[in-house]
Symmetry: C2
Subunit: 354 residues, 2 copies
Amino acid sequence: MTHSTSLVLMADVLETLRQKSLLVDEQLKQLLPPAEGQAIPEVRELYSSAWDYNLRGGKRLRPALCLLSCEAFGGNPQDALNTAAALELLQNFLLIHDDIEDASDMRRGKPCLNKLHGDAFAINSGDFVHAWMWRCLLANKPVLGATKTFAVMREFVQQLETTAEGQAMEIAWVRDGKWDVSEEDYFELVKRKTANYTITRPLRLGAIIAGATKRQADSLNAAGEKLGIAFQIQDDILNLAPPGEAYGKETAGDLYEGKRTLILSRALSKMKDAERGEALASLSKPRAQKTPEEMARVLELVKKTGALDYCRKKARQLASQAREQLSKKLFGLPDSQAKSDIFALVDFIVEREY
Amino acid sequence: MTHSTSLVLMADVLETLRQKSLLVDEQLKQLLPPAEGQAIPEVRELYSSAWDYNLRGGKRLRPALCLLSCEAFGGNPQDALNTAAALELLQNFLLIHDDIEDASDMRRGKPCLNKLHGDAFAINSGDFVHAWMWRCLLANKPVLGATKTFAVMREFVQQLETTAEGQAMEIAWVRDGKWDVSEEDYFELVKRKTANYTITRPLRLGAIIAGATKRQADSLNAAGEKLGIAFQIQDDILNLAPPGEAYGKETAGDLYEGKRTLILSRALSKMKDAERGEALASLSKPRAQKTPEEMARVLELVKKTGALDYCRKKARQLASQAREQLSKKLFGLPDSQAKSDIFALVDFIVEREY
């Protein structure tokens, strides 16, 4: 692919995401109560903060994949709108809680809810947005009928459990000071924490809503998992080596948070003993004691090992395998704009710069 | 009621709660995956901690009310078991998150999850138990059919929203240092935060599962609300004036947490200016700076105002009004053990010592 084709493709993908975003925002406004109607000021504050957060933007990759998958499988994407909105709320509630758990600072270009309003407010807001997610899923009944509505709900329950499992792994690693994270460990974590709800689940949900069989839905799992891991690796790369202003989180925030990434796993395994000792001493400090100078030094040590390039290659490799698997699985479906949009998104996942 | 009758009744109520508890524990074990099956140690830890918490005990008042209401309305209490289990999980996940938000120490006679494993682990555990709640609700489908299953789910979504609203009020009051909480403010808070999911919702859910009309279910709201407020006032009294060992939370924990209660609202309004100033200065300190001596002094000032007696009277008054309303609403139902058990529970709510 030449550079200019790639730029054109990227613009197309961003336009696709933007259009799906508008649909999702519209659907959220249809389904959920506005803040204005709330008479008690403290309750109104809860509602308006939730609305503010839900409309902050973000890529809206997950709802877009769900809508496109539904269409590619021959369904009416309108039928997937409630579920797409629910996927966005799932993501938002997980991010709100994740940012407390990691003591993060920035999200989508603004301070995290825990920074704006404190941990207590943020925990409660996450629970509130989670409740709204179920409100969206209940709205599926008149559109999809009972059987599909329950099938979609079962996917969400499994998703919630899987994500909590991944989160538990990450939290335990940080708590226990575990730094000898192997590539396999990392994959087990990311499969649960990210891959599933970012790629696999949205694709499955779209297919289920379109009326695909369980077998067809299951056939998407392997590709979804690979692509989801590629997505997370790219996320980790962007965190340590952000290309510009568009990235909405703090730079090298992962080092401050002590997040276990494939980059760090690779870098630590490649460092000489003295450098590894130095890096681990800095990384193991509590967040508040980490200085920008120290983190810059860790980043320098990491870069020296070539871990960033290794991970870039790994992400591309996984994405290309996923693309091939997905081509086979979607081969039987008629050609459509939705189908080609899905493949454009697959490329976007490892080419994106935000 | 003589003292000895009251003791006999109390023993009966405790036996009713114990029996329902066993049913709920059994149902949880039927519906949810055991920790043993989990291969990854960090995931197994999440599961076993969730199981440990769910089986800690507690009164199990909410599931009991749901089962009894179903039976009183002519339903088969077996049909309400999944929902009763879900109510217990709702309560557990709310307590896990609430204890983080309030930085509480003890729950059901053991340290809170945030004290045992840290805030991050506890937030995630709450989300995990919340997911399990939905797993129980989805299991209703083959038992209740689609229509009732959705009706029950709608009740849970409303419940989650209402509780988050109440929580938001309390968090904002603490954050903003608001101590001039009127009786009306307090009732608005408690209606949302406690009354609804403790009394009203379990009664409604049992009725809905038994096949009651929406009108019948709605007719329970007013009594449920009064009784729920009485329950919370009694909880607040037990916190400041615990009768013995059975109480599973820290004594006067509400003063350390700076919780706004009817007792404090009343006491502050009755104190002389100098004493109010002294009490507020102590209460407004961050939790870590509050000493046992200081809190004992605040408690002494509170007791001097007669606020505890005022609140005891208020709780009994509300419970007795609720009892009367409930008698009218349940009047048309055939006499049954379940019906009389409900009224015994109504009395228990303000007579209980734990």
